[in-house]
Amino acid sequence: MNGTGRPGDNQLGESTGDVRVGVYVCHCGGNISDVVDVKALAGLMAEYPHVAVAKEYPFMCSDPGQEIILEDIRANRVNRVVVASCSPTLHETTFRRALQRGGLNPYLYEHVNIREQVSWVHKDDHAAATRKALALVRAGVEKATRLDPLEALRVKAERRVAVIGGGPAGMSAALALAGAGLPVDLFEKGPALGGRLLEMGRVFPTGEEATALARRLAEDVAAQGSIRVHLGGEITRVDGYVGNFEVRVEEGGSQARVKAGALVLATGFDHYLPGAGEFGSGDAARVATLPEFQKALGSLPAGKVLRWRGREIRHLAFLHCVGSRQAEGLNPPQADGKVNDYCSRVCCTAALHAASQVLDRFPGTQVYDCHKDIRTYGRGHEAYYEDAAKKGALFFRYAEDALPEYLPASGLLPARLKFRDVLTWMEEVEVPADLLVLATGVVPRAIKGLVESLKLPVGADRFLQEAHPKLRPVEVANNGIFLAGTCQAPMTLDEACAAAGAAAAKAAQLLSQAEISLDPFVVELKAERCTGCGKCLEECSYSGALKLVDRPLAGLGATPPGPEGLSAAVIAVNEALCKGCGACVAVCEPRALELAGWHLDQFEAMAGAIAAS
């Protein structure tokens, strides 16, 4: 790993002579310019010290926008760039790359957010918004004049991927990676590959046997020499960082350690389990969950009416959204105090698929379907809805402001489901149910150990949280870890397999070169100032990023002894594990630690500029 570029000492004094900052104010369509007076802003910045040019443009991120910067680097000898636009999460890298294309070090760039931080939040006071934008852009220029060129960090990467979870998504990811020439370790804690497919009946929309699909994938996996399958082992922990993960697994009583450059998580989902008494659950003869029903359905002999646990089922009711689309105040909270407010995506189609099979095979059984909305959105899904309707299923839509009530059988009355029905103008109805099938939703599988050892981000819905819900659905904030399938969100089988392919693509890109480059914004040590007090160790939340080591002997590192000559230890930084959060910098009294690209004197200058505005 190379060090970072040399900051700190190289301050304004040394480079003042040729610091030429280019300032570019973006309209963001009208997102910014409708509120901030971008022309005035650019005009004022043109006068600011060290600013060589200041311009405004409708979309700086567009190709012609970037071209303006490149042209100024060429023609106006601009050597520091400040773009005032949207959030840096959107476009910081866009502009850094532009600098690179223009032959400048990409880190001589400062991004000022005048959209989220100005125009969007100060819509009603244009003058004040423009003043605030000016202060922020000035601060940006102050920082830019103090920037040093940095080099990306380079980490050697293990050319091998660990896929955790042996369901369809895990197997698909493994196959895609092996297909791209990457060796794979596939970990499944159960005794066989297949995941949830092993306990399902027929799958929509093709009607194939789930177990047959599982077998097909498992055979393909077995045929790939480059996939090592680990069955029945519990993963005890995962350490390391991008390019250098280590998975520890209990296999046959002994601990095995497997190295991997990237991780694909395919840990899947659990079925929602209704609470005791939730819509009658607990009465196994009269109430079943959809997964139970689906699995049994295939082996029930066809006949006039459906028979379930010895009873004739003349009236079969499906209840949708059990454990999903819950509302606070209406549904009792889950164990963590929250309700499952999301839609589980698959249960509508699965329920109607089951309903249409029942109607086909048991013409004497009347089917009722009680839903909030019917969400048969996918390719071929709507056909089950149409089919069930055509074959005589009756549809009810329960009002969303009250939960349907399960009334147990009493005397001659069968069990019923009671609710107000939207489709019959809010009439109260009681739907008879010799068997009630609860279309239970999907919850993420509990993977507490992995979440904790890898510090994985988890969303409010308890699924693993992707880096960007629109553009980066299979990446997480942690480098080198990718999500395949339902550990990220509810999905159908084909969607989970597509996500697995996408996760494999990201892992393959990462490992397509022997070294991985990382942002250089990590902590830097001025070893001569470090007293070895270790306070920073307590602050750091990323284990392994900092550690106390013996001070190298004089001559080797040419480090003078500590101030008192007493301490024998000094901090060492593992740049690949450091996230650049800066928590340690704040507690280091002798100022031995600084964050590359975010020096304290840069902050001081920025604060000064804002205060002066």
Binding site: P58, G378, R379, L471, A499, S512
Partner: protein, 434 residues
């Protein structure tokens, strides 16, 4: 070299978000990609949107970086305003005929200065603004188009020559012709996207006839920060609307139109547009007439809940027809489901028809190496449950809305999976066992 056929690892057809993502996923693994787009700019539907559900990110802001990454990627060549015109398998590889349509501008010399556009005297309804705005006969397609090359529309050109006189680099070429070229690739990804149902597909909804009945894309342009009007106005007279309604499933889930399937995105884009409308017109009344709200994606249910909380009215109703009154106010005749279900008429200022998705390409008509379409018209994915990106032909993969309606995030994951299928196919090809 003059006659050598250009050769690539993968040919990607269609530069919407699916094609862009598939190209990047391949190029970042070191594969050489040719990306072909029939429109004059890359970006597909997404670059034309206002903001996207459920994050409400501005679509321009999140699409342009992807477009720029593609345009600058050393492993990706891009051809715009070029169409795939036939694909054949020859000796285990694919040979494609590409038709480069004439721009009447020399792409190597045009600097995108827009001098020609300023000079041209002919105004034409702007397709990028879906007719709401205007463009010239020669123009740069839109501000953040990639590439920034002018293009001349010969059907509206008077051959007055003003543009050529204004052009500082002499790049206008009135004699340019369409040109066919041949390229070769080891694998192909079809990301040919979707079209929308025609506005007049259901004539009793008044689309294409009543000025204040809009397509959802026109509504996107009303809401886009850089859109035609720069704000929300109604087309008949420029009035700021006060009451806006959405008609859901207007073109989907309707056997009479031959579109029995659900288009998956219209519930969500209606909720999104309604939220954006209520943001820019805080006092306006916004109603969505629907049958089922299909908010099944991650975070979507919560998104719709937010829309309800903002005061958007979700009304379960069947819309029978849309007419207009003397002032061009659309009148919606409907049957509510919550109340007694009696027919009623509600007058709005503006009505948006939530049109559905149709296939963007016909693989048989366009001769895509024997790739088949399914009965719904989208590309068939015969191995769907486990390998959704495979088409009926080995070596040809599909991504995004080419295989059926899909939102952006689902198109992106499918693109990744198509890229990996292509990589696997190429490796087997290299080992002689396709």
């Amino acid at each position: 070299m003059a006659n050598a056929t250009l050769s690539y690892d993968v040919l990607v057809v269609g530069a919407g978000i699916a094609g862009l993502q598939a190209s990047l996923d391949l190029a970042d693994q070191g594969r050489k990609v040719l990306l072909v787009e029939k429109q004059p700019s890359i970006g597909g539907r997404m670059i034309n949107l206002s903001k996207v559900f459920p994050t409400l990110d501005c679509a321009s802001c999140i699409t342009t970086p992807r477009m720029a990454s593609v345009a600058h990627h050393p492993n990706i060549d891009t051809r715009t305003f070029a169409e795939l015109k036939g694909l054949r398998r020859e000796d285990g590889r694919f040979r494609a005929t590409l038709r480069q349509k004439a721009r009447f501008v020399d792409g190597a010399r045009c600097i995108g200065c827009r001098s020609c556009e300023e000079a041209c005297p002919v105004l034409v309804p702007d397709e990028y603004e879906h007719g709401l705005g205007a463009r010239k006969a020669i123009r740069i397609p839109f501000t953040n188009a990639i590439p920034q090359l002018a293009l001349l529309d010969m059907d509206h050109c008077t051959l007055c020559g003003l543009c050529a006189r204004a052009c500082p680099t002499d790049c206008i070429d009135f004699l340019q012709k369409d040109a066919d070229t041949e390229v070769e690739a080891g694998a192909v990804i079809l990301a040919t996207g979707h079209e929308l149902t025609r506005m007049d597909a259901k004539p009793h909804y008044g689309g294409a006839r009543l000025p204040n009945v809009l397509s959802p894309m026109q509504a996107e342009r009303l809401l886009a920060p850089h859109g035609a009007y720069g704000r929300v106005l109604r087309p008949s007279d420029g009035r700021i609307p006060d009451s806006i309604a959405y008609v859901q499933c207007a073109g989907s889930r309707d056997r009479s139109l031959g579109v029995p399937y659900c288009s998956r995105v219209c519930c969500m884009f209606a909720a999104k547009q309604a939220m954006l409308l209520s943001g820019s017109l805080p006092t306006a009344d916004i109603t969505i007439y629907y049958m089922d709200i299909r908010a099944f994606g991650k975070g979507y249910e919560q998104f719709v809940a937010n829309a309800r909380a903002m005061g958007i009215h979700f009304v379960k109703a069947k819309v029978a027809r849309v007419t207009e009154d003397a002032d061009h106010n659309p009148v919606v005749r409907l049957e509510r489901q919550e109340d007694r279900g009696l027919p009623e008429e509600v007058t709005h200022d503006l009505v948006v028809l939530s049109l559905g998705m149709l296939p963007g390409a016909d693989p048989v008509l366009e001769d895509f190496a024997g790739v088949r379409a399914a009965p719904d018209g989208f590309l068939e994915s015969p191995q769907a449950p486990l390998a959704p990106a495979r088409t009926s032909q080995p070596g040809v993969f599909a991504a995004g809305t080419a295989t059926g309606p899909k939102d952006i995030v689902d198109s992106i994951t499918e693109a990744g999976s198509a890229a990996m299928e292509a990589v696997g196919f190429l490796r087997r090809l290299g080992e002689g066992r396709p």
